[in-house]
């Protein structure tokens, strides 16, 4: 790599950092973040209800690990991370167009791909923060009797890793969607609760066309139970390959989003 290329990359990364700093702050302070923060705490409320029910009823109920895997994790994996990634991912580009604030960004000495990457990173970190807090609280509530057992923390770390990967991959996809579609939320909902929720259960290699397939490849197969069909994997992908696929999906959609944002002429007129 020549010194000028190195300098170019360094300058680009600094621009990404500047955009990240601005939008990480904005993302944290935004009104919608307060709403989504409460939304991501829904599983904590569910965990509390379950725990209270266990404490005050005579029946011992299901084991905490089982509940955490089959109820709370699915709540996060099949709904919360999709919703968060959808609303924050699509907004990376579309909020600038719809809010007509795009001219403030594109008339600065910041390359357009740096705007996309900086905002994507900022919003991904914000959503990871929300999900992490909710997941940890849910975990503590359900495992309050086993908090001194170090083995349970390995499970928590694994689940947290899956959710973070999910936010990263879905966020990249929805950033791409928001960069070229006007009604990106609508199409994002169709993708999230149509495509993703159906294709992952298809037999054979078709299920590999869903991001959820690769995320679930990291999860241990739970014991059979009422919700076990939700985690049932016909042909799980090896974790190394699943991780690679998620990274490829993320990189590809982010590259496409940067390309669209750089080339497309957005109409910010009334």
């Amino acid at each position: 790599m020549t010194p000028s290329q190195r300098a170019g990359i360094g300058s680009f990364l600094r621009a990404v950092g500047r955009v990240f700093a601005v939008f990480f702050r904005q993302g944290r302070k935004a009104r919608r973040t307060r709403f989504f923060f409460l939304f991501s705490f829904l599983p904590v409320a569910v965990s509390l209800v379950i725990k209270f029910n266990q404490v005050f009823s005579d029946s011992p109920g299901r084991e905490a690990g089982y509940l955490f895997t089959n109820l709370i994790m699915l709540f996060y994996l099949q709904m919360i991370i999709l919703i968060l990634a959808l609303f924050y991912g699509t907004s990376v580009c579309s909020e600038e167009v719809e809010g007509k604030t795009l001219p403030y960004l594109v008339t600065r000495p910041v390359p357009k791909p740096a705007v996309v990457l900086g905002k994507y990173l900022a919003y991904t970190v914000v959503t990871i923060g929300m999900v992490t807090l909710g997941l940890i609280f849910s975990f503590i509530v359900l495992n309050v009797n086993r908090l001194l057992d170090p083995s349970v923390y390995g499970l928590l770390g694994r689940y947290l890793g899956v959710l973070v990967l999910g936010l990263i991959a879905y966020g990249a996809f929805f950033t791409f969607l928001g960069s070229f579609l006007r009604r990106s939320i609508f199409f994002g909902l169709l993708f999230s609760f149509g495509w993703e929720n159906v294709v992952q259960y298809f037999p054979g290699s078709t299920q590999r066309l869903a991001i959820a397939h690769y995320l679930k490849s990291f999860l241990p197969a739970g014991p059979p139970g009422r919700f076990s069909f939700l985690t049932f994997r016909l042909e799980p992908t090896r974790t190394g390959v699943a991780l690679l696929m998620l990274l490829v999906i993320t990189a590809a959609f982010l590259a496409l989003a940067c390309l669209f944002f750089s080339k497309k002429e957005y109409n910010v007129e009334d």
Partner: protein
């Protein structure tokens, strides 16, 4: 003087719709007014010279450099967009410092530049209020502040005076004029002739995507003088007043209103007509309810000039 902004055969189509056609211009330091009715192509021109959109044909050069994908050039340009749009969840201070951060300044520099810009636009006292709580005039001044905060050599202002009250307009006009004294290049677009007149004598007339004329403001003033002008008068004795005006050679037509209290005059010498009209009213001590010019706007002048 050397041209700072040069465009050559600049054209832009939005699908089949013409945005701008064959515009070749050289803009020098000082204030240049971009004047034209709504939809004339002013904003398209400004977006093209700020690299927000790509030309279909032609080229733009600023300081001799191409604009498209030349991010470094944006350190030398300040742009104030037409839309009343902001990151509403930010305070004025955060809005300004965030945009300065994107310019790449260090934190102490951001602080001092933001303070200076807010002082200039007289928003320092309101800097910690949310932008969404700002009045229209304050928002307009904040937009101006973000365009000047990084001390650019070129300041491009798209309809900066729209929506401001007369006092606000006067303040902003004074601010813009101060930048001319510093030798900067300022481009101001407007569809209101008196606004441009108050700012500069150098104008570019733009209409239906084409540059209609470029030069001194007196040129457009002369055009307006010769443009047949309609004046409506509502008074206690319209026929009596009209009779006294009919003898004047610059009165071309008179129509009486059905209500019997008004008349409409067409004249080709507006200033002379108003002088005589006012003296007649004073002399006859007539009660006048209203004097209006239904076509006293740029669109009417342009329609006349292009032969509509």
């Amino acid at each position: 003087m050397t041209a700072v902004i040069e465009t050559a055969k600049l054209s832009k189509w939005y699908g089949n719709v013409l945005g701008l056609s064959d515009v070749s211009l050289e803009i020098e330091p000082g204030i240049t007014g971009l004047l034209g009715p709504n939809g004339a192509g002013k904003s398209t021109f400004l977006k093209l010279i700020t690299g927000q959109i790509k030309p279909s044909i032609g080229s733009v050069r600023i300081f001799g450099q191409k604009v498209q994908n030349n991010q470094a050039l944006f350190s030398r340009i300040g742009f104030c967009p037409e839309h009343d749009s902001f990151y509403e969840d930010m305070t004025g201070w955060v809005f300004l410092t965030s945009l300065l951060k994107l310019q790449g300044f260090s934190p102490p520099e951001i602080q001092s530049r933001a303070e200076k810009a807010l002082d200039i636009v007289e928003l320092a006292a309101d800097k910690d209020r949310l932008v969404r709580a700002y009045s229209r005039g304050m928002r307009q001044r904040l937009k101006f502040a973000q365009a000047i905060a990084h001390d650019p050599e070129i300041i491009i202002l798209d309809e900066p005076l729209s929506g401001l009250d007369p006092l606000g307009k006067r303040k902003l006009i004074r601010l813009i004029k101060a930048y001319r004294e510093e030798g900067k290049t300022v481009i101001v677009s407007s569809h209101v002739l008196p606004e441009i007149e108050a700012l500069t004598r150098t104008i570019i007339l733009i209409h239906q995507g084409k540059v209609f004329a470029k030069g001194d403001i007196h040129y457009i003033r002369d055009l307006i003088e010769t443009h047949p002008h309609m004046v409506a008068v509502r008074c206690s004795d319209p026929r009596g007043l009209a009779v006294q005006l009919l003898g004047e050679s610059y009165v071309l037509k008179v129509h009486f209103g059905a209500d019997g209290k008004s008349f409409l005059v067409e004249t080709n010498n507006r200033d002379r007509f108003f002088a005589v009209l006012l003296s007649l009213i004073v002399k006859s001590r007539m009660e006048v309810e209203e004097i209006t010019s239904p076509d006293d706007n740029l669109q009417a002048v342009f329609d006349y000039l292009v032969g509509k």
